[in-house]
């Protein structure tokens, strides 16, 4: 059942990189232009009626943002995660708030946290969690959160960190000559 669906999608939308995740989860890649129509068809014809989430992955080495749409089919208890690659320099994606009403919340969050734009999505330019934010979007991997936190919020002296592995070697297993194996 899933295999025939995937074959259909492969023919119609040229999905690639199909692989099986955990049980009941299939991953695939699709082009940016075809993503919206494919999501629409999955929802209307193939019972993938539930949008679990939208999130993004920052592949800074490849200069790519990957959007992940996770759809779920309650009839077959199957999830389909659809990956869409965007150009990192100009991350713009078609809005899907017409397909799933909750989509605009995710899109607003992605705009704020990653700077991915969804033209036409309701209230996409409003602040979501970060009020008065004036830096680059904080979930991008080139944002240096440690330095920012240090500058902005300071740092209380006396805070120390133990590496658990080193700590156990020195304090729990000294008789083994510092070898915790």
């Amino acid at each position: 059942m899933i295999d025939t669906l995937l074959q259909q999608l492969e023919q119609r939308f040229a999905i690639s990189n199909i692989n099986q995740g955990r049980k009941g989860l299939t991953n695939c890649h699709v082009d940016k232009d075809k993503a919206e129509s494919m999501l629409r068809e999955l929802r209307d014809k193939h019972d993938y009626v539930h949008l679990s989430f939208i999130t993004a992955i920052d592949w800074i080495e490849d200069n790519i943002f990957t959007l992940v749409y996770m759809l779920h089919n309650f009839e077959q208890n199957h999830s389909l995660s659809i990956h869409v690659d965007l150009d990192r320099d100009n991350p713009v994606m078609e809005s899907i708030h017409n397909l799933w009403a909750q989509g605009w919340t995710y899109q607003r969050e992605l705009k704020e946290m990653y700077g991915i734009d969804f033209p036409g999505s309701p209230r996409v330019d409003e602040e979501f969690c970060l009020e008065g934010w004036d830096q680059m979007p904080p979930m991008r991997r080139d944002f240096d959160t440690v330095t920012y936190s240090e500058q902005q919020f300071g740092h209380r002296d006396g805070r120390s960190t133990e590496d658990p592995r080193e700590y156990m070697r020195e304090n729990l297993y000294p008789e083994r000559g510092g070898d915790a194996k």
């Binding site: 969690c129 009020e131 959160t145 440690v146 936190s149 902005q152 919020f153 300071g154 209380r156």
Partner: protein, 207 residues
Amino acid sequence: MTDKIDIKLENSGLTEEEKKLFSDARPQTYEPYSEKVEKFANWARANSLWILGFGTGCCSIELRPLMSARFDASRFGIAGRPTPRQSSVFVIGGYVSVKTLKRIVRSYEQMMGPKFVIALGSCPANGGMYFDSYNTVNQLDLYLPVDMYVTGCMPRPEALLASIIDLQDDIKAGNCDSANEYVKNFDWYKANQKKVIKNWNMPDYNW
């Protein structure tokens, strides 16, 4: 301090229209009564601590069992209140994000004196596990005066009860003067708050 009372607050975060709607008076320190009256008042305050029902982070989940039958905080005269105007203890329950800090400042200033702050968990003390977060303040005492820290991630209700008993002892001994500290160092606290809260669109003091 007394010479500063005449200086009005700027309220520069407000528009001209809004400035007419809010007070621009500075907060004032609380002048204690005579020693005997103050001692009685402190005893009364210590035995009727009303907690503001505002959970700022995950540690505030510990406030729920505190009120239920097992830990039964009512026997110490503790009650939860829905509004800052009626409460005297502000339990900062866990991490303080910048967005929450704005609401915390607003709620704290709206509370009637004498008021006390208990910081629950590691995060308000030194950032805890969010020490490198872009959005979580690392030291709460830069922004508000804190009477009592309870460390742990997260502390058990017993720890919170112990801190409340300690706070009661402190109040009875007359050591809890943090609301006056806030007023005395008002400019310093306000500068720190405005440094992290960048869209300051409320009055400088929320009466």
